[in-house]
């Protein structure tokens, strides 16, 4: 009797219910796309990273692609470039957008929306279009706009994108003044969420404006800042467009970032195995950074 009961119970658990059928029907198409164009490529990338890939007759080479990567000076240079780029662009962008958002809080919601729109606008132009425009702003001839400013200030004109002194700085500057919209909108949402009673309490204690920022605003938007840091780093590590369109990684690979290196290995040198190995290393680096950041910055965030 007892045996029969558990058997019944089991049958119940594994019976396909109408909810199951509807559920699978609803997710069917999305899951097919997901399996074929996301899950399969991820598994295939891991497999390919152990191959000397050829369209016909790939050879298994074990860890060779990984070993090659770690013996390759250019890979380390690309990592270094990416880290420098990220270490400047991400914190600077967060500092700028935090400051702008705090300033916008002085105004009514209507005016805030106008500013949000204005700052969001540059972000909707494509990476290709923006790169084309900045290419001309950085034109090395005296008629390039930045060089016109230099001439006006009696400073010698620069070969912005083709000199190892200025190429990386030029890409960094471009990233720092473009597209603040997303960060600002997210920061303002967080700032509007701060309970006014916090400020009232601080005023009774005689806190001035900067003290309010330091002891109330910054701690209370910390989880937002962490979110922007992590998404910023993830995006910055994958940066490809500006180096590809504007410098081609030059001069002397001074602006070759990991994204561009992987692209070149895959699609100009046809080293698919090596490219996959490097992409996986990059994914691991990104995951590790996000994890550490969560641990360090997330310690006293309450959810």
């Amino acid at each position: 009797m007892a045996h029969k009961q558990t058997n019944n119970h089991k049958q119940k658990r594994f019976r396909i219910t109408s909810d199951d059928r509807w559920g699978y029907a609803f997710i069917f198409f999305a899951m097919v796309i997901f399996l074929v164009f996301t899950i399969y490529p991820v598994i295939s990338a891991i497999k390919t990273s152990f191959l000397d890939y050829k369209p016909f007759g790939s050879e298994y080479v074990g860890w060779e692609n990984y070993a090659d990567t770690f013996h390759n000076k250019l890979f380390f240079k690309a990592v270094k470039n990416t880290v420098i780029y990220t270490a400047i662009v991400v914190p600077a962008t967060i500092a700028i957008t935090f400051t702008l958002s705090v300033m916008m809080m002085a105004f009514s919601k209507k005016i805030q929306t106008v500013f949000k729109g204005i700052y969001y606008l540059p972000g909707i132009a494509s990476g290709v279009a923006l790169s084309v425009v900045w290419l001309w702003l950085y034109d090395s001839s005296p008629s390039g706009l930045f060089n016109e400013i230099m001439t006006f200030l009696h400073i010698p004109t620069q070969n912005w994108l083709n000199s190892s002194k200025t190429a990386m700085g030029s890409l960094i500057f471009m990233a720092m003044v473009s597209s603040h919209g997303t960060n600002i909108i997210i920061y303002i949402a967080a700032l509007l969420g701060i309970d006014k009673s916090n400020f009232e309490a601080a005023e009774i204690d005689g806190a001035n404006f900067l003290q309010k920022i330091r002891y109330i605003v910054i701690p209370l938007v910390k989880s937002t800042t962490l979110f922007l840091f992590i998404t910023g780093i993830i995006n910055s590590f994958q940066v490809f467009m500006n180096a590809y369109m504007m410098t081609g990684g030059g001069p002397d690979n001074n602006t070759t970032m990991i994204g561009l290196l992987i692209f070149n290995n895959a699609f100009t040198r046809s080293e698919f195995g090596l490219a996959c190995a490097q992409a996986i290393i990059m994914a691991i680096i990104i995951a590790a950074i996000s994890f550490v950041q969560f641990k360090v910055m997330g310690e006293d965030i309450e959810y």
Binding site: F29, F34, S44, L130
Partner: protein, 288 residues
């Protein structure tokens, strides 16, 4: 309206105005810097198609004309088709995501089927994988195995239901009250009925946000169309602009005209539907 943060001069109108004017001036100055490249792009596109190399370029062109746009369109017999290709690809991608990603999101949020948590978790994990990891195998799959390069299918299929949109839809549908759906179920409505008659009508905002975000990223995407097309007739706007740039590296105004054309549809959409663009940012930001 002043928030608690800016309570300092609230009782002194003069000081308050002075302070706000200084802050506004700073915000406007910074906005001018950040908008300048876009502004420069649009004004310069009206310049002469061929300018002498040494001519000084200023913020406004020396003479205004549409020659540069003509020069850009004359570059390839397919340049109009690039725009149509982009519209077709982005349009289909939007349609696919709005239908399939929202259905999947609804199932993950409100239908209690076996394996639901595991499948949704894998969608979440997939969102964090950099595109470089999947790009090479995807390229091998589409180009070498399916032999689909230079086809609309190759441009549309991989983005037809993105993990991000499934996640977005799931987050939103979770907030709908289950009691509303349960009562419909008791009255005998099936899930498709509930989804189409009850859930979709109250989800117009989130679906619009999803549609606009998807259109924007699909229109602006360069990497994938660049990989799977090598026939000019199949280029999208972005790939066409890149090709023009590398073929005519000295033509200033026509290049700006090309960039303007590639960005114009998004600007028009932005001014028409600004609310949804701005809302889309906060909807997508995962809270803590």
């Amino acid at each position: 309206m002043s928030t608690g943060l800016y309570s300092l001069h609230i009782n002194n109108k003069k000081k308050l105005y002075a302070r706000n004017i200084i802050i506004a001036a700073f915000l406007i100055a910074f906005a001018v810097i950040s908008l300048f490249p876009i502004f420069y792009m649009v004004t310069s596109s009206f310049g002469p198609a061929v300018d002498s190399a040494s001519a000084a370029r200023s913020i406004f062109p020396s003479s205004w004309s549409l020659d540069s746009f003509k020069a850009y369109f004359d570059f390839s017999e397919y340049s109009i088709r690039w725009i149509l290709n982009s519209i077709l690809v982005s349009g289909c991608t939007v349609l696919g995501n709005v239908i399939f990603a929202s259905m999947a999101g609804y199932a993950f949020a409100k239908i209690n089927f076996k394996g639901r948590n595991f499948l949704f978790f894998s969608v979440l994990v997939a969102m964090m994988i950099p595109y470089q990891v999947t790009q090479v195998p995807l390229y091998i799959l589409i180009v070498n195995k399916f032999h689909m390069s230079n086809s609309y299918l190759s441009l549309i299929l991989p983005g037809l239901a993105t993990s991000y949109n499934i996640f977005l839809a799931k987050q939103f549908f979770t907030s709908i009250h289950t009691s509303l759906l349960e009562s419909a179920k008791i009255e005998g409505a099936n899930q498709l009925h509930i989804f189409a008659r009850i859930v979709l009508p109250i989800s117009k905002t989130i679906l619009s946000v999803m549609a606009i975000n998807t259109f924007l990223s699909s229109w602006n995407t360069f990497f994938w169309p660049f990989l799977v097309t090598n026939k000019e007739a199949m280029y999208t706007v972005q790939v066409g602009l890149k090709t023009f740039k590398f073929a005519n590296s000295t033509l200033f105004s026509p290049m700006m005209a090309g960039a303007t054309i590639s960005a114009l549809p998004m600007f028009v959409l932005f001014f028409a539907l600004q609310k949804y663009f701005l809302e889309g940012v906060t909807v997508g930001a995962v809270k803590g």
